[in-house]
Symmetry: C2
Subunit: 239 residues, 2 copies
Amino acid sequence: MREPKALTFDVFGTVVDWRTSIAREGRAFGERHGIETDWDRFADDWRGLYQPSLARVRDGERPWTRLDDLHRESLRTLLERRGVIVGKGGVSDASVDEFNRAWHRLDPWPDAVEGLTRLKRRYVLATLSNGNVALLVNMAKRAGLPWDAVLGAEVARRYKPQPDAYLTTADLLGLSPGECMMVAAHNDDLRAAGSLGFRTAFVRRPAEHGPDQVRDVRAEDAFDVVADDFIDLAEALGA
Amino acid sequence: MREPKALTFDVFGTVVDWRTSIAREGRAFGERHGIETDWDRFADDWRGLYQPSLARVRDGERPWTRLDDLHRESLRTLLERRGVIVGKGGVSDASVDEFNRAWHRLDPWPDAVEGLTRLKRRYVLATLSNGNVALLVNMAKRAGLPWDAVLGAEVARRYKPQPDAYLTTADLLGLSPGECMMVAAHNDDLRAAGSLGFRTAFVRRPAEHGPDQVRDVRAEDAFDVVADDFIDLAEALGA
C-alpha cells in the first residue's frame, strides 16, 4: 500500500462516544427541568433522527442546513413527544439550545487523543464529518483533539455519503483521493470513501450504540486497515 | 470592549515572515539551477504580483483560482522575465512547482508560536487568510502554528477584502462578526474586517517588506488593540 499523506476522520462514534456523553448531559438537563425519562434511550432516539434529517437535505427537500440546526429540530421533536413544553411557560429556548450544544461537548474514546497525537507526527489529520465546523472546533478544543484541519460536510455543503463531501475535503487538502485515508467505525462511510479512491481504515467501536450493538461490529469489506482503536491504528500505520 | 470568542488571523506578513523565507528558498533554487539574481528583490516582485492576481479573481475576470495556482503563474512570469526557460530544455515544471511550494514553508516571526500558544488557551484561533487550505495546513504543520481551524478565502471562494471572506469565516465558526477579532499587520485588512463588525487588532510588523518598509508601519485607525508582537497581543488580551 502506498502511504497516505492525510487521514480523514469520521467523528461521531469513531472519535467520540456520543451516546454516553448525550445521556449524561440529558440527565443533567432532566434534573434542571424536572424531566424524567430514560436518557440512554433518549440519546439513541436523538441519534435515530439524524439520518432522516440529513436525508431531507441530501435529497434536496430542503436547502443546506447545518447539523446544529438539524439537531435542534430533532431535540424539540423528542422533547415534545415526551410532553415537555418548549418556550413560553416551559423550558426556555435558551435551555434547549444549551442542551443541543451537548454535541459540542462529546467525550473522546479513551484512546483517541493519544492515538491522534501519535498519528499527527506523521500525517495531516482532518475531520471529514457531517458535524458543522463550529461543533467540531468546540469539541476539539474541549477534548484536546489535535486536528490539523476541520473540514467535511459544511465546507462542501454536502452530507456524507454524498461524493462531494469526501472529494471537497481531499481537494481542500491539495490531495488526490488516493493520498487520503478515511478512518471510520462505519462500513457505509468507508465504502463510500473507498468507491471514490480513498484508502480506508476501519476502527472497531463495538460500544458506540451501547451494550446491544448489532451494526458495524466488524469490518464487512476488505479495508486497507482494520484496527481495534486509535493506538492500534497508529501502530498499523507506523506512527 | 466585550471579549471576542475567536481571533481570526491574517497570515502572510502577520504570522509568518514571507520575505526572508522566500528569498532563502530562492537562493537555494538559484544555486540548484545556476540562476543568479537578487533574491530579496525576487521575493518582493513575487509578492508584488499578488494583489494584481487576486484582483482578477475578485473582479470576476477569471473564475475562482486558489492561491497556489496564482503563485505559480506569477513565479513563471518572473522567471521568464529573468530569461529562465521553464519546461523542455530548462528548469522542469516539477522544480518550479517545488519552489512554488516555498509559500507552504514560510517561517513564523519569532514571537508567533509562543504568542499563539498562549492565546489558544483562551480563544478559538482561526486563519482568515487568502492562502489556500493546503498551503496553510502544511505551513502550520512545519512551523508548529496551533490553529483551531484553517479557514478564510478558499472555503468562501472570495479573496479578502471581499466581505464574504470575513463573513463566511465567522459563520463557519458559529459566531457573529462582533464575536471575532481580526488580527493583522495591515491597515486595509483591519478596516475591511472592522466595517463588517469584527473587532480589530493591529500587530506591528515593521520588517515585513524589509529594511525600507514604508507602508503599514503603524496603525492608521483606532483599532481595538495595537500590539508590538503576538506576546504583546496575548498580554493585551489577558491570555
